[in-house]
């Protein structure tokens, strides 16, 4: 402890109790000429010095030297203490490369485009410096510590879109808290990364995941009952239907699992031919539904699920 601000009468000897101090007219109205009440003044000095000593001790525990012989140093220590404890004043948006400075301690940043955050040297920022960074863009955001300094052991760290975490300085390097990288589309498609989590907006890129599905009524007024990643179903001819993808496939080498019923939605008597794949294109596919003769027929229930690369 490096503080000489001490409590007055810490044992509480010859001191008014709280109730008497509360009701004392000299406390509420001020002292008057006459004999000073030592117990009253002991209580006064005890309370005020306790608050001052507690503040001084807290600052000294944080590394400051507190002495009534150096008033300006005390002011500086209080300022630093308040600055460290300040609440986040909002999130700063960055759209271009940015150098993180000592003054950025405690700030939160969101990148609105692909960019690089470079860091001032760890020794300059000092142990205890910290900030929050989020990638709010659709591109890659790179964290690049000074020279050969590292962050989580690497010389650079890339935030995928929507990633964000807490970064702090040890004085020689940077570490993160809450870093859970979300998988990119490429990582989902390669399906080999095991240290990234899958977000709802990208799970469908995994090769094992269905890319589209549709359930529609191909009779009467042809209508879609439910679908995903389908913008329309084209009724081309009797028994010939062509769903179109919202997000296209990357090639026409994909697989379709199609089924349905040529009689009714809930019927065990559905031994009609098909549906067979009439055509495959990156933007759509067509299904041909058979009848119990050699011609196509409208089906009340047509279902298709698509697998492949998008």
């Amino acid at each position: 402890m490096t503080s000489n601000i001490l409590r007055f009468d810490p044992s509480g000897t010859n001191m008014l109790n709280d109730a008497d101090y509360n009701s004392s007219t000299q406390r509420t109205n001020g002292v008057v000429p006459g004999i000073a009440q030592s117990a009253l003044h002991n209580k006064l000095f005890h309370q005020t010095s306790s608050v001052a000593a507690a503040a001084a001790e807290a600052l000294s525990n944080l590394g400051a030297t507190i002495s009534d012989a150096n008033y300006s140093a005390m002011v500086t220590a209080f300022q630093n203490g308040f600055a460290s404890a300040k609440a986040l004043s909002g999130v700063e948006a960055k759209s271009a490369d940015y150098l993180l400075l000592a003054a950025d301690k405690g700030k939160a940043f969101t990148a609105t485009s692909a960019l690089t955050f470079t860091f001032t040297a760890a020794a300059t920022l000092g142990s205890g410096w910290y900030c929050y960074i989020k990638n709010g863009s659709s591109g890659a955001v790179v964290l690049d510590p000074d020279s050969t300094e590292t962050i989580d052991g690497a010389t650079t760290l890339t935030l995928n879109p929507d990633d964000g975490f807490f970064i702090y300085c040890t004085g020689t390097a940077f570490l993160t808290i809450g870093r859970n990288a979300s998988a990119t589309q490429a990582q989902q498609e390669s399906a080999t990364v095991t240290n990234a989590y899958v977000s709802p907006g990208r799970q469908q890129y995994h090769p094992s995941a269905a890319k589209a599905w549709v359930n529609f009524n191909g009779t009467g007024i042809v209508a879609i009952r439910a679908s995903y990643n389908i913008t329309s179903v084209a009724d081309l001819l009797t028994g010939l239907y062509q769903p179109a993808f919202t997000t296209a496939m990357s090639s026409s080498d994909y697989a379709i699992a199609a089924s349905g019923n040529g009689v009714a939605v809930n019927s065990g008597d559905g031994a009609y031919q098909g549906p067979s794949i009439y055509s495959l294109a990156t933007t759509s596919f067509a299904l041909s539904c058979g009848s119990n003769t050699a011609t196509r027929g409208d089906w009340p229930l047509v279902c298709a699920v698509v697998f492949g690369d998008q």
């Binding site: 329309s232 084209a234 919202t246 759509s284």
Partner: protein
């Protein structure tokens, strides 16, 4: 579900009928489409729900004329393969 249908001529003189699926979103700035589970789901930032007109612009083959009609105004399907674009 919409009661609207998009009709356009096929290459052999017939008529194709597009049944629109409106559970999709579009970004007017980028032109990107985004599939949705339903029209009631939250939209990705910058996207809006698509319209029948958006789907016509996307799925009607380029250069073909089209019309947006009510499904109930389409003819009976009993002679579906004989429909002609006039």
């Amino acid at each position: 579900m919409t009661t609207k249908r998009i009709i356009f001529p096929t290459d052999d003189g017939g008529v194709a009928v597009l049944i629109p699926a409106l559970n999709n979103a579009i970004n007017d700035q980028t032109g990107q489409w985004y599939p949705l589970r339903s029209v009631n789901d939250p939209l990705p930032e910058g996207f809006r729900l698509c319209t029948v007109e958006d789907i016509a612009a996307k799925d009607v083959p380029a250069g073909k004329p089209f019309e947006i009609v009510e499904a109930e105004d389409l003819p009976d399907r009993s002679n579906r393969n004989a429909w002609e674009w006039v």
